[in-house]
């Protein structure tokens, strides 16, 4: 049931940006990915989520166990907080909308349309979606952008609860979430040395 990444290379815009990335995450573990702007965190996470193919290496994870939260929250402005969550719960065939709202401190806003939320409130709603997917592995790209200190702490608590229930969490972030128990992986050393076009040896003329 672990997430095992072995010797992975990922590419963006036709160029390999990271290579030789290997790590594994066991149930109950969190892994924080760090690295300067543009090193390839977003690219790595999208590859893990299956949205783009890997250039090399392997990702092994239980099927349909992974959910991804990017910078865009996937919220519909004209639906209320509750309707937004209900939709994702229905798509994943899971319940727990009320509980998710309670955990992310959204109960008071349940009937508010997403359009009328502030930046931070929107983010909280986006993160509450994770709770109604029923998926074990959370793959999060800068989840705390525009959250204030209290909300960051709230979110860290939610992550801890998920880990406690045997979940796994991967977070790419520039700031400190206060998740002291989490392992940290710096992606700097995996930066592809001489970036290579992704056609394999065959298309070497493009390099």
């Amino acid at each position: 049931m672990d997430l095992v990444v072995d010797n992975l290379a990922v590419a963006r815009g036709g160029l390999t940006v990271l290579e030789g990335v290997s790590f594994s995450v066991e149930p109950g573990q969190a892994l924080i990915l760090r690295g300067p702007n543009g090193v390839g965190k977003t690219t790595l996470l999208r590859t893990l989520a299956g949205l783009q193919p890997a250039v090399a290496g392997s990702i092994s994870a239980p099927p349909e166990s992974l959910t991804y939260a990017a910078h865009a929250d996937g919220l519909k402005a004209v639906l209320t907080v509750e309707e937004n969550l209900q939709f994702w719960a229905a798509i994943h065939g899971v319940g727990g909308v009320t509980d998710a709202m309670a955990q992310m401190n959204l109960t008071d806003l349940r009937a508010r349309r997403a359009a009328n939320l502030s930046a931070g409130q929107k983010r909280r709603l986006g993160l509450a979606r994770l709770l109604v997917t029923g998926r074990a592995i959370w793959v999060l790209d800068e989840p705390t952008v525009s959250l204030d200190t209290a909300s960051v702490a709230l979110f860290a608590g939610v992550v801890r609860a998920h880990l406690g229930a045997g979940g796994m969490v991967l977070i790419a972030t520039h700031i400190d979430l206060g998740l002291t128990e989490a392992a940290v992986l710096d992606l700097g050393p995996f930066k592809a040395k001489a970036p290579v076009a992704t056609g394999g040896g065959f298309d070497e003329a493009f390099t």
């Binding site: 999208r46 989520a49 991804y68 910078h71 865009a72 929250d73 996937g74 519909k76 639906l79 798509i91």
Partner: protein, 218 residues
């Protein structure tokens, strides 16, 4: 899949969701053409089948970019792609929602606009039947075009350019049904051909559209 259909319909009916706009555009075309062409009843009766079909087609066209672009922009499409629903299913449901929101109302309201354009009596039944048989193809072909252009900012015009040539056979057979129907001629053959196109498009294009979406998401 049900949840997705319900959400799409709900979004269409909420404020700003665009329900009824296609219909209104259809109405406008039916009004503008006599204004441009002139009020002569005989001329209008002659061109009515063609203009009604072209109008329905354009009305359909203009709402196509809503099929995927909104979900792409707010990130929902990424999340749907990692959800348990296969992407082909997403395409099919979204094309269905599009048809329910535009094609179906167009079909139901077309006879009213037939009056504006002086469509001859026997044509009305054939107009409704041909639109009912043809508009699903417009939605599915449109969903394919929308999937191709989903990553492109304000790609509406490009989408039109790509989709319109694909609409040609549907348009020809559809208008032919009404034209023949209106003059009392045999209209079953083009109607069957129209239905054939719809069946083929519905069966095959969701796969092409899902492939295009996968390419655009990566």
């Amino acid at each position: 899949m049900n949840a997705l259909l319900i959400r799409d319909l709900r979004l269409a009916f909420r404020a700003g969701g665009g329900f009824g706009l296609g219909l209104a555009f259809f109405l406008l075309v039916a009004v503008l053409v006599p204004l441009g062409v002139g009020p002569e009843p005989a001329t209008l009766a002659k061109i009515a089948p063609g203009i009604l079909w072209v109008g329905a087609l354009l009305a359909c066209l203009l709402s196509l970019d809503r099929i995927f672009a909104l979900d792409f922009e707010d990130g929902s499409l990424d999340l749907l792609a990692t959800s348990p629903i296969p992407l082909e299913g997403v395409v099919a449901v979204k094309a269905l929602a599009h048809w329910l929101v535009t094609g179906l109302p167009l079909t139901l309201c077309a006879p009213m606009l037939g009056v504006l354009l002086n469509l001859p009596g026997p044509g009305y039944l054939w107009l409704v039947v041909s639109l009912a048989a043809g508009t699903p193809a417009l939605s599915v072909i449109g969903a394919f075009g929308a999937a191709l252009t989903v990553g492109i900012k304000r790609g509406g015009l490009l989408l039109s350019l790509l989709v319109l040539p694909l609409y040609v056979p549907t348009l020809i057979f559809g208008a032919e049904v009404v034209k023949r129907g209106a003059t009392g001629a045999e209209a079953l053959v083009p109607l069957l051909l129209l239905a054939g196109i719809t069946a083929g498009a519905v069966a095959l294009l969701p796969f092409a559209a899902a492939a295009a979406l996968r390419v655009n998401l990566r």
